[in-house]
């Protein structure tokens, strides 16, 4: 809309235009000054003065330096003065800018009021009503389509796993109509402390889970297994040797304390395992997995946890690169000593000849490969451990020791880190130390931790001599390593891990220790169990069972479960006083470590797998 100036107030309009012009020039200058001030302050950044930071660092090393202290104070005062002066300038400048802006606007608006209206020539834009309506309809419909498309694009770009993750975190309980489930999974303060202290291995990161139950499959089968399990899933199951994270701490409830293999008391079922193996059972949902092997045959078994029926047996053979003849191994190690592991989508097993296989829950081979026959004079025994959707292999052999992560779905090597260590029979442990996940391995000459994401070494401590069988224990930021003919070492983690204490009175050849925030329980191969104070290595108690022990102690419900070679389970309180709770007998010798689920215990004897419970 044009406006024609009336001739009479020309002078006023001119004055107003000059005022507006002057106001805008003033505002322009102010704006430039304020912008420069802002840029200068951003460049100087008194909040993070490098000089002050450096001087403060110097003061930390020499806190008594009074001259330095005074210098810091002077500089600090200067920085503050600069900052507050700048603040004052900004505020005053802002007000002046606002006033000058108002002057400009008022001048121009007044001009508008003075100038008389000259309406447009009518008739120029006369449009047909129905044409306008029609065009508007199309544009509105177009805008609606744009909104829907934008919504869909946004929806597809969004990760839709939060709901599922929350369900899993809440224990998988499905609440109707959005009402909270009564699942008890999370961690109240006590639980959290428990997790961080006694149960530190809040194991492998698992973010998503896409397992779906198929109606035509038995429960527990992962119909389209992708992703990796949540922490809740892992705790609900028993995914590897010595439980979640491999630290010997179990989270299940109502674990039995009495049974008798001979009379069958509390023995729910017993199943003969075709081939021998010293690997311990692992459990996922209603499936138990074991491997067995001799010199000519390697097998993996999927067993129904409810009835003990062997549902499938998968033979691992004709693996490219696999040696025609099985390596010579010690009879107490065998061809199938390493524990299996599972991520709930696949199950993984490794044998003494270097064959490693991933199977789905129906026993079908997903991938299989040979890692090269390990140069290991007793036979490879390091168990597998899972992290996210990968399986980690400690492959400490003579000449080319390494640790590697293989992709669960494909078997591709995600990372591989060479290790300057000797042969090790210990298994990896995966823990969350409060700040990060650490994969901790034991082998002569050191305990070392690695980032499970990329295999980068995080720290190492030289404290091992000789052959290493036991895996480390972990609790509350402390790592405990032990091996025969060497020493027991407690390492305090931190920026620089340091040795907290050492002891060499009782040492273990095979069983791995288990620790809590207060106690360390060590079982020697010759049957003595010792309870230490984790802080200083002081012994609370020791007890001799006088039997050979190869199985590792497990802690569940505040009790320690320890099997001897004859199949007698010693159950005692995990406390600073020895209190034997029970001594049930399996009736069959065993080398293995038991697996736990709610109300049940699974023990692999020399020939049979036992399910114990009520």
């Amino acid at each position: 809309m044009d406006k024609l100036p009336d001739k009479s107030p020309d002078r006023t309009i001119r004055s107003l235009h000059i005022t507006a012009f002057a106001g805008s020039v003033f505002a322009l200058i102010l704006s430039v000054m304020l912008i420069l001030n802002f840029l200068q302050m951003k460049r100087i950044d008194p909040l993070n003065s490098r000089t002050l930071i450096l001087l403060n660092e110097r003061l930390k090393t020499n806190p008594e330096d009074k001259t330095l202290r005074e210098e810091i104070r002077s500089l600090d005062l200067l920085a503050r003065k600069a900052f507050f002066t700048s603040q004052w300038q900004i505020r005053i400048g802002g007000y002046l800018l606002l006033i000058s802006g108002l002057v400009v606007v008022i001048s121009l608006k007044t001009t508008d009021f003075i100038v008389k209206i000259s309406p447009d020539e009518p008739g120029r834009q006369k449009l047909d009503f129905w044409e306008r309506q029609s065009a508007s309809r199309k544009w509105i419909a177009g805008a609606g389509v744009v909104m829907i498309c934008s919504a869909l694009i946004l929806a597809f770009m969004t990760d839709h796993e939060l709901g599922r993750d929350l369900e899993h975190a809440l224990g998988g309980a499905v609440a109707a109509k959005g009402e909270p489930a009564n699942a008890n999974v999370g961690s109240d303060k006590a639980n959290r402390e428990n997790r961080m202290v006694e149960l530190p291995a809040d194991v492998p990161g698992m973010v998503s889970d896409s397992v779906t139950q198929s109606a035509d499959q038995p429960s527990g089968f992962a119909a389209n297994p992708v992703g990796f399990p949540t922490q809740a899933e892992i705790r609900k199951n028993f995914p590897g040797f010595r439980g979640p994270g491999g630290i010997g701490i179990d989270h299940h409830k109502n674990i039995p304390v009495s049974w008798d293999g001979k009379s069958g008391k509390n023995i729910i079922w017993k199943t003969k395992i075709p081939l021998p193996g010293f690997n311990s059972p692992i459990v996922w949902d209603d499936r138990i997995f074991l491997s067995g092997a001799n010199e000519t045959r390697r097998e993996i078994y999927g067993i129904d946890a409810g009835k003990g029926t062997i549902l499938w047996t998968t033979v691992i053979d004709k693996v490219p690169g696999s040696p025609a003849k099985a390596p010579a191994v010690n009879k107490e190690t065998g061809q199938a000593a390493p524990g299996m592991t599972t991520d709930g989508r696949r199950v993984y097993a490794i044998f003494a000849n270097g064959d490693i296989a991933a199977l789905n829950f129906e026993g079908k081979i997903v991938w299989v490969k040979n890692l090269g026959v390990p140069s290991n004079h007793y036979g490879h025994s390091s168990s597998l451990i899972m992290y996210k959707d990968r399986v980690i292999v400690q492959y400490d052999q003579r000449g080319s020791a390494a640790v590697m992560a293989l992709a669960g779905p494909t078997g591709d090597v995600i990372w591989k880190t060479q290790r300057a260590v000797k042969v090790s029979w210990a298994s990896p442990v995966l823990v969350h130390t409060g700040t990060r996940m650490e994969l901790i391995l034991a082998a002569e000459p050191f305990i070392a931790a690695y980032d499970p994401e990329n295999g980068k070494e995080l720290w190492r401590t030289d404290c091992i001599n000789g052959e290493v069988g036991p895996s480390v224990a972990y609790a509350d930021g402390r790592v405990f390593s032990v091996n025969e003919y060497s020493k027991l070492t407690a390492i305090q983690l931190g920026e620089q891990p340091r040795i907290l204490w050492e002891d060499s009175e009782y040492l273990s050849d095979v069983p791995s220790p288990v620790a809590t925030a207060q106690y360390l329980f060590l079982a020697t191969s010759y049957g003595t169990v010792v309870c230490y104070n984790v802080l200083n290595g002081e012994k609370f108690w020791e007890h001799e069972f006088d039997q050979t022990i190869y199985s590792s102690p497990m802690m569940a419900e505040g009790r320690i479960y320890l099997l001897d070679k004859l199949g007698v389970m010693y159950i005692f309180n995990a406390s600073d006083k020895f209190q034997l709770i029970g001594q049930p007998v399996l009736g069959e010798g065993t080398f293995c470590t038991p697996a736990f689920t709610d109300g049940r215990l699974y023990i692999r004897g020399n020939n049979n797998l036992y399910c114990i419970g009520k």
Partner: protein
């Protein structure tokens, strides 16, 4: 000499850029080793309760004054000066808070969360402009809303927007209103306040994004009058609806319209209905088809919109603090984070059970699912109604304001040559 458009652009841009210099962080407290005790943080005392009454009185007086200026005096100047007063009082003095536009969220939250005690002043600021609108049209927009006043100040060269573009952009306020209600109803956020473009100017203190938004709106406002009011304001949606039924809305002409067409392009908001005397010669078949189309369109748009909205459940919920915390906790607990955020640390130290957060997050997520459906269906319904509205015939012989879109600014009255029953000679001549 000063040439308005170019210089003003530059000036405005620089002023707004300069505003970013306010966004600097505050200096942290010094650390003393001498045992010096930091003084207690002093909080300003609460505003005297009587001032809330003053605010309400000012609101009612301003609304009355504008309504009087528009309906009785038909004075654009009068409306302008009241709007300047409102800009100073509700804008710079009250710093954009309390505000009828934002009160939509308080009312929504009060409806969905019985534990939220909505202040009576806020409720009054929500209702009183609506009541005035029901009687006198959108006089609140004309001279009481500080946002409108601010934009009116810079509307130097308003251009008429093409009606089809105007119609399409007219859907934006519905979207904004829907989102504001959704986020308020779920206790997630007051997005109208968070993204208020003018409050930074009122308070002479704003972050970069707020200033940028204000800059875009004000620069646009030079050529497109009141862009926020027309294409964003969620409260404007309610006023638009109510104004259609207003008891006594302003008219362009004080007496009979002489169809001189001088006002035809006078409205910078395109809110003047042009007379349409041409009847559409529809066959019976065409009318049946149109009816069928409209009938089928609504369920399709509402279900389609609802479904699309429900798909945004997690996108929307991601804004919620509890859901965000739950998400971070899930990742942290499951994946192991090297460095935990302050939020996680604060949560850990609170001793609150983790399950509680997860359960809360799940409930909120479910609310967003329902909310997404409702929002989508609402937008589908709105789109359908707008399309259907463009299918209806509109016969009128005079130039009249579109009662919904008209902001009652009274600009058009200055263009009307009709003075009661007489006509000034000069303009009569031109007409």
């Amino acid at each position: 000499m000063f040439r308005k458009s170019r210089e003003f652009w530059l000036l405005l841009l620089l002023m707004l850029l300069a505003g970013s210099s306010f966004a600097i962080q505050r200096f942290p407290r010094p650390e003393f080793e001498t045992g010096y005790q930091q003084p207690e943080t002093m909080l300003p005392g609460p505003r005297a309760e009587i001032m809330a009454v003053v605010d309400l009185a000012v609101l009612i007086l301003a609304l009355s004054a504008v309504s009087w200026m528009v309906l009785k005096k038909r004075s654009r100047k009068g409306v302008f000066w009241v709007s300047m007063f409102s800009l100073v009082y509700f804008g710079f003095y009250r710093e954009g808070c309390i505000c009828a536009v934002g009160s939509v969220q308080n009312v929504t939250l009060a409806l969905f969360d019985p534990t939220y005690p909505i202040p009576l002043t806020v409720l009054a600021f929500f209702i009183i402009p609506l009541i005035f609108t029901l009687f006198f049209g959108r006089t609140f927009c004309a001279g009481v809303c500080p946002f409108g006043a601010m934009q009116d100040l810079v509307a130097f060269r308003p251009k008429t927007i093409n009606s089809k573009v105007d119609a399409a952009l007219g859907m934006m306020p519905y979207l904004y209103l829907g989102l504001a209600v959704l986020f308020a109803a779920t206790g997630t956020d007051f997005i109208i306040c968070r993204y208020d473009p003018f409050v930074g100017i009122f308070r002479i203190n704003a972050g970069f994004s707020m200033l940028l938004f204000a800059a875009i709106l004000l620069l646009t406002g030079i050529f497109i009058a009141r862009p926020y009011c027309r294409y964003l304001c969620p409260y404007g949606v309610l006023l638009n609806w109510i104004s259609r039924f207003s008891y006594r809305h302003m008219t362009i002409t004080p007496a009979e319209c002489i169809n001189c067409r001088l006002c035809e392009n006078s409205c910078p908001y395109g809110a003047i209905k042009i007379p349409n005397s041409v009847k559409y010669a529809e066959t019976r078949r065409q009318r049946v088809r149109k009816l069928m189309f409209i009938t089928l369109l609504f369920p399709f748009l509402m279900v389609g919109g609802g479904w699309a909205g429900s798909r945004l459940q997690e996108t929307f919920a991601g804004v919620n603090r509890t859901v965000k915390l739950a998400k971070e906790l899930l990742v942290s607990d499951q994946n192991g984070q090297d460095v935990e955020s302050f939020e996680i640390k604060a949560f850990r130290s609170s001793g609150k059970p983790l399950t509680e957060v997860y359960q809360e997050a799940r409930i909120i997520l479910h609310r967003f699912l329902i909310g997404g459906w409702i929002l989508g269906a609402f937008l589908g319904l709105t789109t359908g109604l707008m399309v259907a509205g463009k299918l209806l015939e509109n016969h009128q012989s005079d130039y009249v304001p579109d009662k919904g879109a008209c902001l009652s600014c009274a600009r058009c009255t200055d263009y009307c040559p009709v003075m009661g029953n007489t006509m000034p000679t000069e303009l009569n001549h031109k007409a």
